[in-house]
Structures are given as structure tokens and as C-alpha cells.
Symmetry: C2
Subunit: 234 residues, 2 copies
């Protein structure tokens, strides 16, 4: 029997690597999309390539997006600093690393690709538990996007509905690490830091690094990339 196809949004980070492994484990023919949008942490694109190979996907597509629509974020603009350390009290609940409408754009591209492939299942590695407060990582956004997707495609005329899967949505980072280990994800290939050094070494101070550290601590495991910063500097 032919496997059903799934499109997986795959950044090369810890979360989407676990989701990629989950989709493969669930028996989908996996089509991974990695999107370059002018992000500061381009090193994640190399990580994506290695991890997709390690997990074994059917096709891995890299898409280049112009960064113009995403201006003003700390992840796309050299002028906007990536915050370090815990957030000060009273800080904006949406931090400067928020990228305008990024998941709406990414899910739309995944939707287009899924429709062109005949896939109906789209996976995204967002979590609304241990996350940075981005509005486009919350369940109400994902449900609404799914509705929009089914109104704006052939599925509106009687085609099979698209389903947005966000298997990490209610999971802590610790649970994500544990799930990844169970599925054989090689976390040494994954990247999380928003503001890596020239050799890709994590800063250990941004929110993404802190969330990653918390995940491994909760899981009671050592992060295989911990200490790379020092190694790179020594």
C-alpha cells in the first residue's frame, strides 16, 4: 500500500527535527521543507540538511524567501539585538525575536506544496508550552489556519480536507527531548540558538538556548552540543 504523503516544515532546530522523526515514524512519505528567510542563524540550514539525511526523508526542498516582508525582527535585522538572559518583568509578551507572520507564511507555502503533491497532512513543530510567546505558535492560530486552508484550496470544492499537525503543541521541552531520543533523533546535528557565533556555536544566553537547556535538564540528559561555545572559544 502506498504511504500517505506529508509535508513537514523543518528548520533544522530541535523541535522540527523531532516532528520530522514523528512523521516518518507514523508511516508517512515525508516531504520536508526548509525555508531560508534571511535569518541570522543560517547555520540551521546546514543542520537541516544533515538531520533530514539522518532521519531519511523522501524529498527535502529548500526554499529561498526574500527577507523584505520580515523586516524589523531581531532574527532578520542586524540592527535589532537578540535579547539575552531572562526577560525583565513587564516586558512585551512578544519578544523582538518574533518574525512578522512567519508561521502564516511558512504554513501557506507548506499548504501550496502539499496541494501540489496531493498530500493532506502538514506538520509543524510549534509548542505553546515552553515557547517565546509568539502568537503564531498557539492552538487558536493553528485551528484558524486549518480552516482558512480548507476554504482557499481545492478541498473547498469537495476535496479531502487538509490537516495541520502540531504534535509538540502541548509538550514541554523536556518531553520533546525525550520523544526525540526515543525516535533516535541525533540532537548533536540540531541547532537552536538565535544568535550563533561565526562557527555556528550557540550563544547559550538567548531564549532559544535557555529553552533548549531547560529541555535537556528536564529530560535528565546532557545536550550533545552543550559546551560547543567554550570549545569554539578555547
Amino acid at each position: 500500500m502506498e504511504k500517505p504523503r506529508a509535508v513537514v516544515l523543518f528548520s533544522g532546530g530541535m523541535d522540527s527535527s523531532v516532528v520530522l522523526a514523528m512523521a516518518a515514524d507514523e508511516g508517512y512519505e515525508v516531504h520536508a521543507i526548509t525555508i531560508s528567510y534571511g535569518q541570522r542563524h543560517r547555520v540551521e540550514l546546514d543542520c537541516a540538511q544533515k538531520t533530514a539525511q539522518a532521519i531519511g526523508v523522501n524529498r527535502h526542498v529548500f526554499l529561498n524567501l526574500d527577507s523584505t516582508p520580515f523586516e524589523g525582527s531581531a532574527l532578520t535585522c542586524e540592527d535589532v539585538k537578540v535579547p539575552v538572559g531572562p526577560r525583565p518583568p513587564g516586558a512585551d509578551p512578544i519578544p523582538p525575536t518574533y518574525v512578522p507572520a512567519r508561521n502564516t507564511v511558512f504554513l501557506s507555502l507548506a499548504l501550496a506544496y502539499a496541494e501540489s503533491l496531493g498530500a493532506r497532512d502538514i506538520f509543524i513543530g510549534v509548542s505553546s508550552v515552553d515557547y517565546s510567546g509568539y502568537p503564531d505558535c498557539r492552538p487558536e492560530f493553528l485551528s484558524s489556519f486549518e480552516e482558512t486552508a480548507n476554504l482557499g484550496t481545492r478541498s473547498a470544492n469537495g476535496g479531502e480536507r487538509f490537516r495541520i499537525h502540531a504534535p509538540l503543541l502541548e509538550m514541554t521541552k523536556g518531553e520533546t527531548v525525550t520523544a526525540g531520543i526515543r525516535l533516535g533523533v541525533d540532537f548533536s546535528l540540531t541547532h537552536s540558538c538565535y544568535d550563533p557565533g561565526p562557527a555556528g556555536e550557540p550563544c547559550e544566553q538567548c531564549e532559544a538556548c535557555m529553552l533548549r537547556r531547560r529541555g535537556f535538564e528536564e529530560a535528565g540528559l546532557e545536550d550533545p552540543i552543550a559546551g560547543r561555545e567554550k570549545a569554539a572559544l578555547s
Copy 2:
């Protein structure tokens, strides 16, 4: 007083040119986005540049998208023919020129750009009257997208809501032509054909050409580009 900013999705076709003129006429500071997605009728990109200059926009951004997510459409694939002439009875209500999730992707990019600019108004030139049956041109899709947009951006945390404007939604092509003439749109600069000849001359047989012709007939006007095909061939 500063003008409010608007982002206008602008293909260089007849409809989006009228919408561009409408947004300018309504007093917005107009930021036009033209998207190249591997479309067969790339001549519309040149038309977009000329029309945006003629109407006078504040900024005109061209974005290049990889065509991979849009495979399988007659507009992006040389292997899929653009249908000519009236549709046969019983034909699929969504024709092969439908591009997978195109307006979801385009509106998402417009949304990201609008959020990065501080604009809250997004214009799109779709119509659900004289149109090709594309699901992403209908009012229920646009309302749903607007809802998704407001859940997936800073507006979900108390920011001003985004508004999707589709001023042609309930207008016939004839009404669109009349509105454009009233606003001084130079239709000789606009392009509609899905399958133009090597010099950009319209085929006069595809659905886009037929809808355009009907619009000028209804408006009781002559299309300034009518006869270009013959001119190009003679």
C-alpha cells in the same frame, strides 16, 4: 497628518491595477508587492512596474518565490496546457489554471510585510463574480484569512486588527473597467493573458482574455490592447 499605510498585492493585471489606484485614491501611503512565482505570463511583471510608476506608489517591492510549491498548475508548468475557449459542460469547476494556495501564500506575504511596516490594511484584487472559480477568490476564504491573520500576529495581543480589502469582490469585470477608467488607470499598460506569445501579446482565447474582453464590452469601451495579437503577428 500622516497617511495610513496599505499593502497592495499587485500582479500588473487589470484587476490589481484598479485596486492599486483605489488604494491611492482612498488616501493610503501605498506599498505594492509584486510576486514572481514562476508564472508563464512573466510579462505581467514588466506591466506591474510601468503601472505602479504611472499610478505613483510609495514603494514597489518585487518578491521572488521558488515555483516548487506551485507545481502542477497550467500557469507554472509547461506540461499542463492553458485551456482555450469556453469551458465544456461538466468540466471541473476549478480549472487547471488554478495555482495551489496562491492567494493564501500571497496574502501571508502581504501580511508579514504589512506587520513589518506597521500597516493594517491589505488590498487584493480578487472578484467572485467574473472569475475562474478559484476557491481562494471567494468571500468566505478572505474572511477566514483575516481571522487567521489576526490570530497569528501581534494583533492577537491587543494590537490593531488587520483588514483585508477586496474592493472588486462583488463587481463585474465591466464595473471594474469603469472604475479603473474613472481613476485614470492606463489599461494599455496592464496584462491579463495566461498564455501570452513571445512578445507578451495576448492569446485572446484563454479565460483571462475572455473575461477581460467581456469587461470592456460591458463597459462599452475598447480595450487598448485589443488587436495586439494581430499586430504582433502581422
